[in-house]
Amino acid sequence: MINEHNQLQDNLAAYALNALDPDDIPALETHIKTCASCQATLTEYQRVSAGLLAGLPPRPPRPALKRILAAQLPGNANNVRARFTSWSLAQFAMAGAVVLLLGINLFSLFQVRSLQDQQAEMTRQQETEQTALSILAYAGTQSLPVSGEGLTGSLLLDRDRNAAVLFVWDLPLLTPNQTYQVWLIDPQGKRISAGLFNAVTGRPITIFELSSPKPLSNFTSMGVTIEPRGGSPQPTGPRILSVNF
């Protein structure tokens, strides 16, 4: 009985993280119903897991997202169409003028939001540059030359702190339907995405902070490919940069 309790108690952490294998769930759930000790432990684990969700540093999305979201809320398009049928010509003319004014305002609004988007991008770049400066300050940081056809750059790599920042000079701008994607490659040749980025108009140096789900010490090299917008699960496009660690 005690052995069974100890065995099932070992599964509580995985259960709280929603990582328990499905075959193990029924026995644990049955046990929890009658075990006050496990109930108490599970409650505390669940508090911790909620804390993990909420504890990440806030990252505001682009301001444009709020506009897109608002546009998807239920409007009154059908009702408006129904009302049009009983409108007079003068009312239509008035509506047309209003629409024109709204159009002008929307155009101005679009310009303002475009500037806000640019500002958000600059902020992100600034954060990346600060990370790069921080990495440079560590004694164990490696600076590796990155090579590609007609391209030069370097990779700052700090395995101890699992941080890496890529610098590329004169990176070409891509079409709106394309993106650069960074891949980390392990000794078996398995590739894992380390994020997407694009060149910024008017900036000679593109800086990108890699995001690795695993310790960087697991990988032996890095590559950059051109992929469709949104990225790919595995590389599909031409490799334009590579570096061996």
């Binding site: 599964n11 995985a14 993280l17 909620a50 504890g55 990225g231």
Partner: protein
């Protein structure tokens, strides 16, 4: 941050279809939801899409939120968590989870109503997570932010299943200890 009563008022108004209240909740919580979706998906565009999906689920299912069952932010972030993991699975990397807005499947995942969750405590949890030894941190990240089961983690890392279980439990124990330390202070 506005007082909790204001938050409950906003939620009630969203339940009644008030778009301004909905956008006010968006302003307040979008950075947290986006931080989580970005952490899981590691892609700005996908993360914004899932952030948007999460808030649309809030708009469509606000009536399912019951204040007496847990904090609103935990409920919202749990929806975001599951929606983001489902998106990972939709990319072909993981099997699908259950309906991420189903209240019966969501509530058991939330902490109880006595949870004394606040900004400072959540932040200390973040730092406690960063301070875990690397193997423990890796296990937690793969489980919670990548949606892998213990067996999948064992396969992914090439570790024995027992090792994964031991490290996961040790990690959560360490975080729980940190949480309780805050209780004692």
């Amino acid at each position: 941050m506005e007082p909790l009563s204001n938050e409950l008022d906003l939620i009630q108004r969203v339940k009644e279809g008030d778009q301004q209240a909905f956008l006010a909740l968006y302003d307040r919580y979008a950075p947290r939801v986006h931080a989580l979706t970005l952490r899981i998906l590691n892609d700005t565009m996908l993360a914004e899409e899932v952030t948007q999906d999460t808030f649309l689920k809030l708009w469509n299912h606000a009536r399912l939120y019951l204040a007496e069952r847990g904090p609103f932010l935990s409920w919202l972030l749990t929806i975001a968590h599951r929606t983001a993991l489902d998106r990972l699975r939709a990319e072909g990397r993981r099997p699908l989870l259950s309906d991420s807005t189903d209240p019966d499947s969501l509530w058991p995942m939330l902490a109880d109503t006595n949870q004394n969750a606040d900004e400072v405590r959540w932040r200390s949890m973040y730092f406690a997570m960063q301070a875990l030894i690397p193997d423990q941190k890796t296990v937690i990240e793969l489980a919670y932010y990548q949606g892998l089961s213990q067996s999948e983690i064992a396969q992914e890392l090439g570790w024995p299943l027992g090792t994964v279980k031991t490290r996961m439990r040790a990690a959560l124990e360490s975080l729980r200890h940190e949480w309780k330390r805050d209780d004692d202070q």
